[in-house]
Assembly symmetry: C2
Homo-oligomer: 240 residues x 2
């Protein structure tokens, strides 16, 4: 603790890491970069970096990194703090405390457009070998995946994976892909529509080739869902 005597606290490098998720190509995917510098050169890692200056805000740094990697403005995506990781030897170079953020971005609209996409790529979370990740990013990624899955239960963030307008089927596919479970279309629609403020009808409907046109919705003002939409172990477990 600080004293009147000239004791000064130790100074530490603070970084911000991002776990950016999307639903792309019928798969739950995360943005990973291939490291081009030591240590762990060649390994996969979550995008991130140190604070730019000693006075940069944490959330501002997260938004800056997100913009650099995906070209997306933080106002358009869901961005929240996940946790902070600071085991002393997690980086062999020096002591680094990293504040990790969770970002959910819409699917087809976000192929790293405008980002300085050196070697960043979307990877399906089910295909990632934990051992191929640098530092302690396997642990971070596992906690981020679980956070994202549970967030779908008691919040409306699933709409963050969709575009500004979406059908009930598209929203349901988000749940099915992220959870890896099949959901009944009729029960799902009943549940969503019974939650006040989850979605709002736009009045429009899709024009598609084959099948009845679907009504289009946009995200509503509600953020929390109570009671939650629980992922039960029933239903089919094959998402596709």
């Amino acid at each position: 603790m600080p004293q009147a005597t000239p004791w000064t606290p130790p100074l530490i490098a603070v970084a911000v890491d991002l776990a950016v998720f999307t639903v792309l190509d019928e798969q739950f995917a995360v943005l990973l970069i291939e490291r081009g510098i030591e240590p762990d050169i060649g390994s996969l890692a979550l995008p991130g970096g140190f604070l730019a200056t000693a006075s940069e805000d944490l959330s501002a740094a997260a938004a800056r990194e997100l913009a650099e990697e995906t070209g997306l403005d933080a106002a358009q995506v869901h961005l929240e703090q996940l946790a902070t990781y600071g085991v002393p030897d997690r980086d062999p170079r020096q002591r680094v405390v990293t504040v990790c953020y969770l970002a959910l971005v819409p699917g087809p609209l976000s192929p790293m457009a405008g980002g300085d996409a050196r070697n960043a790529a979307w990877r399906p979370v089910d295909d990632i070998e934990p051992a191929s990740l640098a530092f302690d990013h396997a642990t971070i990624l596992a906690e981020a995946v679980e956070r994202a899955r549970s967030k779908l239960e008691y919040t409306t963030v699933a709409t963050s994976f969709c575009g500004p307008e979406f059908t009930m089927s598209e929203l349901r596919r988000v749940y099915e892909i992220v959870w890896g479970r099949r959901l009944d279309p009729r029960n799902f629609q009943r549940k969503i529509l019974n939650i006040p403020g989850f979605v709002e009808a736009t009045g429009k409907q899709t024009v598609r080739n084959g099948g009845r046109p679907a009504l289009l919705y946009r995200a509503g003002p509600a953020r929390l869902v109570q009671p939650p939409i629980l992922r039960t172990r029933t239903d089919d477990s094959s998402p596709q």
Copy 2:
């Protein structure tokens, strides 16, 4: 991001703050200290401090602070990371990033025994004026209170507020006091006993003055509760 050029990341003071909660005297209380040094001298604040050395682990620092303030070993209490706060001007002296931890300690057994209890005291959370708290601790405390309340819904941490053995009524009082709601004793007991691993019967029962003796339970191995125990807005809202 780090380059091969001799760019070095800014170094920042990292602190650990604690939101230590207990159920004491039929009230939901948090441990606060009265600041003896500038800035915000005389204000109330969450206990905490800077990392002791540049190589101290974050959770180790939290456990050390907890032991200093309460004399409790971290193995006996529930201790989890809450969030990290790093707004640039939250401390007027210098840039400080603080990792806040949430601790839940048992009730009568923890009156700062053994701690260097300078001016630390339990304060009922309902009696705390937000403006009387230093720095951004009012925000931190509000989020910690909400985290603790919601944790009771989907985990078994409520047993952390009880002693090693407790009655169903004592456990129910924890929920009632933390949530500020009355709960039906019979429905509560049915719900708890239907959750596998929440509590285990000890076979013993209380010897008390008046009323039927209550069975004694201890905490079970379960940590997560599914489906959650929801705090509905029904029931009486007066906890006492």
